[in-house]
Every structure is written in C-alpha cells, then in structure tokens.
C-alpha cells in the first residue's frame, strides 16, 4: 500500500480564503458588512461495477458564497473560484458589484441575523490515504471472485467562514471512504462502508470478511413474506433512514414546528410521546461536521432534541430566531441535524438475534417517504440484507417488503429496546460536494412493524 498524507497544518486553501476575504473587506463601502463562506474539495473518485472500473477521475472544486449587508438590507451570491488570485479577486469584485446593484431594490430584511461577536475556530484533521493506484489495486484484490459495486472517494474537503468583522473559522479533513456492496444475485447484496482518516489494511480486511460472511447467509433460498405485522430488529443503517426522513422534513427544526409542518406534529398538539427509551441529540462534538454555520454562529457541542421520548429543544437557524423570537443555536438554514445521535440502550449488541427471537432482521431500509406526514405515517422498502429469523437463527433472506407504519409505533409504543452500542454512520452523499454529516445510532428492537406489499 502506497499512501499519502494530506491536510497537515495551515493549508493553502485556508490561506487563500483568508486573502480573498481580506481583499474583499478592504473594498467594502460605508457600513457594509461581508459574510463569506467557502466550500471545496479535491477528491479522487473510482466508480466500480463487478470489480471493474466504470469511471475514475479527480474533481477539484471550490465555491465562495457571500452575503453583502448594509444596515438590514442584503443580498447574496456565489461564484466558483479558479484558484488563480487575480482572476478570483476580479470575480469577487464583480459579484459584489452585482449585489450592490440588487440591494438597491430590496427592503430591510426583518429576519436578518449574523454573528457580530467574532469567535474564530480551526479544526484540521490530517489523514493517511492511499494513492489512487494503490487504492484501486487493493479494492480489486478484495473484490477478486466477487461482484463488487460501489464508489471509492478520497482526498481533502474543507469549509470556511469569514466576515469583515474579523471572524475566521476553518474546517478541513482528509478522508477516504469506500461505499460498496458484494452482490450475490438480483437484489441480494451485502452492503458495507470502510471510511476514515487513515487507511488500515487489517481494518479493511475485517470489513471484507464481514461482507463475505453476510454474502454466505444470503445464499439460502429467499422467502416471500405476506403483508402483515412482524417483530423486527432494525439495524443502525435502517434506523438511519427513519431519522434521516424525519430530519429532512423538519422534525427537529423550529420553522417546521412553528408552521405546523413537522412530521412529529402530534407531539406538539396532542402531547403524544415517543418511547421513554429514546434520547436524540444534535451531537456536534461527536460528529465530523464543522461546528460553525454560514452566518458565523458557532454551534454548541450538544443540543438535546428528544429526551426520554419528549420533545426537548429544536434546531434554530438565525432567520428562524428572528422570525419566531427565539435564540439561535447555530443551526443551518435548513434546520436539519448534521451530527444526529441516539443514545444506546441496554439490548446487548452481541445478542441481538436472541433478543429478536423470531421475526425480521432488517439490515437496511430504502426510499422512505410519508404516507401521511402530519401523522408521521411512513412508508419505505427493505433493502440488501434482510433475514427471516427463527429463535435467533437465520432461516432465509427475505424478498423486499414495503412497510407503512408510524414513527410513533416504531420509535414509540412498540420500541422494546435499543442496542447497547451505537454505530458511527458517515454520510456518503456527494450531491454537489462530499457530505460531512454523520449519525451515531444504535439498532432498534420493535415488537411489531406493519408491512403492506
């Protein structure tokens, strides 16, 4: 394995961002205030199918976003940066000129709020990641004789905030992740993820072994289950899909609460509670996302969202803070968790099969959405490794099933227990850029889950 180390010390990208913002600040007129954010990455990608390469390459991108404020009037914009100083300074100047023109046409923004008490932070995580040719060789060797499909990504990602008041925040990490499946046939597959800062051959081999074992279990003849209710164990990756849907639709955001669009509306209106076993938080300190947001507010280490099944706090963006008269807690504008954590319970992780007994072991859920959002009735599919268990033993893989049930059952009155350890699940999403979100989740034992198709 040939490896390279990246992201050590004060980086070039950080210095470049600082210089651009400093130059832009010097060009401000009158009482103007500038907020600036940068997001960038240089990532090597290898896409594989059946162990061979479908596409491979490198993406080098950096986007600068700015808010130009005068009093309470402001407009915003973004440009891609070339990395070449004079070009980018000219682009920034042109963008600021455009924003000044537009600002003349807008009124005061009653919801404008940005941090005026500069708090500068820096977090740089270095990593030891393989060179592209070494990574490809290792992955193909592990795939030999198996149908491996997935994506390998590695390299630096970074984000920064700066303003004309002197605040500077920087987050940068060098990471790799291999998100892959071993396929047996049709839709039967063992899904896995190997991700981190430092590539370790032994750790990778252990992941491969785990997938190979699950693949063997999938070799039995699959069974079709009829619609109905089944005792179910949801592995952490399956729980992740439920919390992700809730988060996406504002279950933990102030705006969705105030406008009655939260899928947990019944908790607000009818005082319905989730299971007392359930404790959900936004655990920024335990995650891998930046601890600052785009208006310059630094996030607390932890925000309790649900405590013993009861609503605790919500994520409050600066705009919601102004709109609804409540203090911001550094949430992004979408008010979704970026480092959601559910506290573990007391079901021994190494005795999940015994705790389940007879029922469904669901490794992954897929494509969740609401059947009735106001009632938090949710539908979705089982995917990848889902097994029918009898008395704690695997009987057979199960062909895909559609569930339709509410979180008030799955995480409420039918939640029997949570596993005694939680998995750190890194978000492998690469829409526009590599995600830095993650969740830390236990598995969930549910006395009955409703399947409909």
């Amino acid at each position: 394995m040939t490896t390279v180390s990246t992201s050590t010390g004060h980086s070039d990208a950080q210095g470049y961002f600082d210089e651009l913002v400093t130059a832009a600040t010097s060009s401000l007129v009158g009482d103007e205030v500038l907020l600036a954010n940068v997001a960038g990455e240089r990532t090597d990608f290898i896409r594989l199918n059946n162990g061979d390469v479908r596409q491979a390459g490198t993406i080098d991108q950096r986007v600068l976003s700015v808010d130009l404020i005068e009093g309470r009037r402001h407009v915003a914009g973004s440009i891609s940066l070339s990395g070449e100083h004079s070009t980018d300074e000219a682009r920034v100047a042109a963008l600021l000129g455009r924003l000044r023109e537009q600002r003349a046409h807008v009124l005061d923004d009653p919801f404008l709020l940005y941090n005026t008490e500069p708090v500068s932070t820096e977090r740089i995580e270095s990593g030891t990641i393989p060179t592209p040719d070494a990574a490809l060789a290792d992955i193909r060797a592990a795939a030999a004789g198996r149908d491996l499909v997935g994506i390998y990504a590695s390299g630096d990602t970074y984000s920064g905030f700066a303003n004309s008041l002197g605040q500077r925040n920087w987050f940068q990490s060098a990471t790799f992740n291999l998100d892959w499946c071993f396929y047996l046939r049709a839709d039967k597959a063992a899904k896995n993820l190997y991700a981190g800062y430092d590539w370790d051959d032994d750790a990778f081999a252990a992941k491969i072994d785990w997938s190979a074992q699950q693949l063997a279990a999938l070799g039995r003849d699959p069974v079709d289950l009829s619609p109905g209710e089944y005792r179910t164990f949801l592995a952490p990756r399956a729980v992740e899909q439920i919390t992700e849907l809730l988060s996406w639709y504002g279950a933990f955001g102030q705006r969705a609460h105030e406008t009655r669009q939260t899928p947990l509306l019944r908790m607000l209106v009818d005082d319905i509670a989730l299971s007392p076993l359930l404790n959900i938080s936004e655990d920024t300190a335990g995650g891998v996302a930046p601890n600052f947001q785009t208006s310059g507010f630094v996030r607390p280490d932890r925000i309790p969202l649900v405590t013993n099944g009861i609503y605790a706090e919500t994520l409050v963006s600066p705009r919601s803070a102004q709109e609804f008269g409540i203090a911001t807690n550094g949430a992004g504008d979408h008010e979704q968790p970026e480092s959601l954590a559910i506290a573990p319970g007391d079901v021994p992780n190494d005795a999940v099969n015994e705790a389940l007994g007879t029922g469904l072991y669901v490794g992954n859920l897929w494509y969740l959405n609401f059947s009735d959002q106001a009632a938090c009735r949710t539908t979705g599919m089982t995917r990848f490794a889902t097994f029918w268990m009898d008395d704690g033993e695997i009987v057979a893989p199960v062909n895909v099933l559609r569930f339709d049930d509410t979180a008030f059952h799955l995480l409420g009155d039918r939640l029997e227990g949570l596993t005694d350890s939680a998995d750190v699940l890194l978000d492998t999403s690469t829409y526009e850029q590599r995600s830095t979100s993650s969740q830390r989740l236990p598995g969930a034992l549910v006395s009955a889950m409703r399947f409909v198709l």
Partner: protein
C-alpha cells in the same frame, strides 16, 4: 452578465484546443458555465436574493484501454494542462481494469439553443419582486394558512463540448439553455391536520423566458392553491380499497419518472447503480417483446419538444438527440442508455448520457420522457369510472430498488362515483407494482389535458448527481389499483 461566459470565448477555446492531447484514443473537454437567480417571497417577506455563478471544465481521456477524467474550475493555461495530466494519469491507472475499453468514435458538430420568446432580463428585477409579493398576498388569505411562498428561479447554462482523437478528427458542440422554475405553495393547518397545495409540485417548469409563466398559468394559480389547501382541512380522508384511479398530468410526471424512466435506464440494468439508486426489474432480454403496459401505452424519449425541461440537441457524449419510442402500443422496444451503455448491453438506446455540470461525469439519465396522448376526453374518462379517485399533484414517492413495488401520495383527491366527481378527499395515496401496473392502463386522455412539464431535481449516480428531466402526459386512467387515505 457578471463574468463573460467562457463558452464562446475564443481565448479559452483556443487554449483548450491547444491543451487537449492528440496522441490519445479520444479526448474531450466539456465546459459548463451556469448563472442563476433565486427569488422567493415567504410569508410576505423577501428572502435574500441569491445569485449563483459557476463555471469549470471536465477533461476526459480514453487511452490504451483506460479512462480518466479531471474536473477543474481553473481555466488558465496551466490549470488546463494540470487537468490533462491528471486525466492521463487516471487513464494509465485504469488501463486493464475497465468495464469497457471502447473509446467513443463520435466527433459531433452542432449547436442547440433554448427557444426564448420573452427574455427574462426584459422583466426588471422590481417587476419580478412585485409579481412574487402579489402572489404572496393571494396565498396568505386566511389565518389557517400558516406558511406560504412564491418563488422564481432563473438558470442559464452554456455548454461547449470539444473532442479530438489520435486520427486528428475533431468535434464541437455548443448548447445554450435557458430555464425557468416558478413555485407557489400554501400550507393550512388546524390542530393535527396540516395540508399543503403547490404549483404542480415543482413540475411546472421548462425552458424559455418569461413566457414560461404564462404557459402554466402562474398568475392565476395562487388563489386556487390557497383555497384548496383550506378545502382539504375539512375534506374526508381518501377511502381505502381497490378501485379505478385517474391521475392528473402533475401526478403522471412522477408515475412516469419512477416506474418507467428509472427502470429503463440501461446503466441500472447493467448494475452500475446497484450500490446506490438501485437496479431494475427490467432485464436485457425483455426489450422487443415485454408487454410493459396495455396497448394504450406509448412512451417516447423526445428531446425535441420546444420548451420542455430536458430538450437538447446533443447529449454530453456528443450523440445527436432525436425522438424515439421506448414503449410502443405497450411493448418495450428501447432502453434509456447512451452510446457506452448500448455497447455494453447490446440493447438499443437513446442519446441520454448526461451530467449535472462540469464536475460530474455523464451517466444514463432520463431526458424528456413522455406518454403520448390518446383519444378520450378527461370528462369521458371520469364518466367511465364507477368507483374511483382522481388524484392531483405528487407529494410523496417511494419505490423499491428494482423500481417495482411503489407507493405514491398526492396533494389533492376527488372522489368519483358512478361517473361523477362527488367531492374532495385528502391524503390520497396508492400503491402497486410497476411490472403489472401499466397493464391496467385503460384510458389515456387526449391533447386537451396533455401537459409538458419537468422534474427539476432527479437524483442518481455515484458520484451523486441531480439533473432536470422532462415529462409530458395527459390524464390517465388505471383499473384495479389499491388506494388508501391518511391516518385521521
């Protein structure tokens, strides 16, 4: 214009031509320059105007059986040279490890430009903002409407694809797209009942200028949307049972997209998407014989529809795009796959190798995927229903990774009994299986209800990509569908 678009810049094109290697099997440079303006008035207050400017290039090199790409926003001579070196390096690394080794043979030349009747810039910013404030006033008409917004997004995307190869052949494709995405939304609440109505769930969008607003009746929709959100608060739940289902065009968009479009993508069928977006219940041996639907079902891939969201002249591999049937009289005849997938699968495809932008490589995507109109009027279809629901505007979508077992929900339903619409129902939903659902298609409305729409954000691919896809359809009637309502 903030910054001169690099597309059409002779300086950049000259640098690219000089930098693209001619000692490889095939090389391309795909430049994308995008400019967009995002306007939204929510609860009578203007969100900060957001302007986006993005440009960059992807260099792709096929050589010696290897393939590599390098994408960069550094368009300087040295930046382009570094990208070429990086792409060459990947081609060396992947040689001998590729799924397919055949380099593209095509060097296309041509251009495309969105048809624009009224340029967006002819409508001053103050007029745009006034229009949104006016819509906001029409939406926020009742204390029970707790959230509402009106929005306009304008995008301009210029692309230039340059190709070359060892034999000295060259290609050049220039395409200029102009998009408009209008939006309206009203959310009403009473107690635990929250109901939302929208302007076609974002499907009412397309290519063109300000005339796109009139195409979908943007100026007349707000009052209806607000009133229907209130109406839904007191409507009964959609009944449950197996019955007839009439789908309005703004739900057909989703039905076509999820249960025809994605299953027919050849890269899914070939397994590329199995780790993320999924596979397909369709297999290569089904093309030419499989009865995908009843004989009323005719589906075209048609990038030539003027003003539709995903119209274009060439895909991002440079393949000329033209109208082709995917399903003809119910029989599956062609897949959604570009040149590479066609070569890999042996299945006939279309020109649909597309990328989100300069920083993503092209993959098989839907473009305009349309259900051709039939001969019935919508009134005739309603009259033919003994027991059913007429559903409008998608709000929920879920389908398995083989694109087979689906469950979809709509914003607004109308109960139909004995050929008459007898009332409004809320939380309408239905579920089915793609493999058999379309065979129950028993009525296709005529051109009067045929609506040309789009899906702005279709997600797929590793690396993840979002692209716009177009869908056009009349209202369609299905028999024996499992229909259901909400919890309360």
């Amino acid at each position: 214009m903030l910054i001169d678009s690099p597309v059409g810049s002779s300086g950049l094109e000259g640098r690219l031509r000089a930098t693209l290697p001619t000692d490889v099997d095939h090389a391309s440079a795909r430049i994308v320059d995008e400019r967009s303006e995002h306007l939204r008035v929510r609860r009578h207050e203007l969100d900060p105007i957001f302007n986006q400017f993005d440009s960059g290039v992807m260099i792709t090199i096929w050589d010696g059986g290897g393939l590599g790409y390098a994408a960069t926003s550094d368009l300087s001579e040295s930046g382009l040279a570094r990208a070429v070196d990086t792409a060459r390096g990947w081609a060396r690394i992947t040689a001998g490890a590729m799924i397919t080794t055949a380099a593209p043979s095509r060097h296309a030349t041509g251009s495309y430009e969105s048809p624009v009747e009224v340029t967006w810039d002819s409508m001053p910013l103050t007029d745009r903002l006034d229009l949104l404030h006016q819509q906001s006033r029409l939406l926020g008409i009742d204390d029970r409407i707790v959230d509402w917004s009106a929005s306009l997004v304008r995008r301009e995307v210029d692309q230039l694809l340059l190709t070359t190869s060892r034999d000295g052949a060259e290609g050049r494709v220039e395409q200029r797209f102009r998009f408009l995405y209008p939006g309206l939304r009203a959310t009403a609440n009473e107690g635990t009942n929250t109901q939302t109505r929208t302007f076609g769930a974002n499907a009412f969008c397309g290519q063109g200028g300000a005339e796109v607003l009139g195409r979908f009746g943007f100026g007349d929709a707000a009052t209806r949307i607000a009133e229907q959100s209130l109406e839904l608060l007191h409507a009964p739940n959609c009944p449950s049972g197996v019955m007839d289902l009439l789908l309005a065009p703004d739900q057909m968009v989703l039905q076509i997209h999820e249960s025809i479009g994605h299953p027919l993508e050849l890269d899914r069928i070939l397994g590329d998407e199995r780790n993320y977006a999924g596979t397909s219940f369709v297999t290569t041996d089904m093309f030419g014989s499989f009865a995908y639907g009843s004989d009323l079902l005719n589906v075209t891939f048609d990038p030539t529809v003027p003003g539709q969201l995903a119209s274009y002249g060439f895909d991002d591999d440079g393949t000329p795009a033209r109208r082709q049937h995917l399903i003809e009289n119910g029989i599956l005849v062609r897949g959604l796959g570009g040149e590479v997938s066609q070569e890999r699968s042996g299945v006939p495809g279309v020109a649909n190798s597309r990328a989100t932008s300069w920083n993503r490589p092209p993959i098989d995507r839907m473009a305009n995927l349309n259900v051709e109109p039939g001969n019935s009027t919508v009134d005739e279809l309603v009259s033919s229903i003994e027991d059913g629901v007429y559903m409008h505007t998608n709000t929920s979508w879920s389908i398995d990774d083989s694109r087979n077992k689906f469950q979809f929900g709509c914003e607004y339903g109308q109960r139909v009994v004995d050929g008459e619409i007898v009332g409004t129902v809320r939380n309408p939903g239905y579920r089915g299986v793609s493999r058999t659902f379309w065979r129950n298609l028993k009525g296709v409305a005529d051109r009067d209800s045929f609506t040309v729409m789009g899906t702005p954000n279709c997600g797929k691919g590793e690396l993840n990509q979002q692209v716009g896809t177009g869908h056009a359809s009349p209202a369609c009637l299905f028999a024996d569908v499992e229909v259901f309502g909400g919890e309360q």
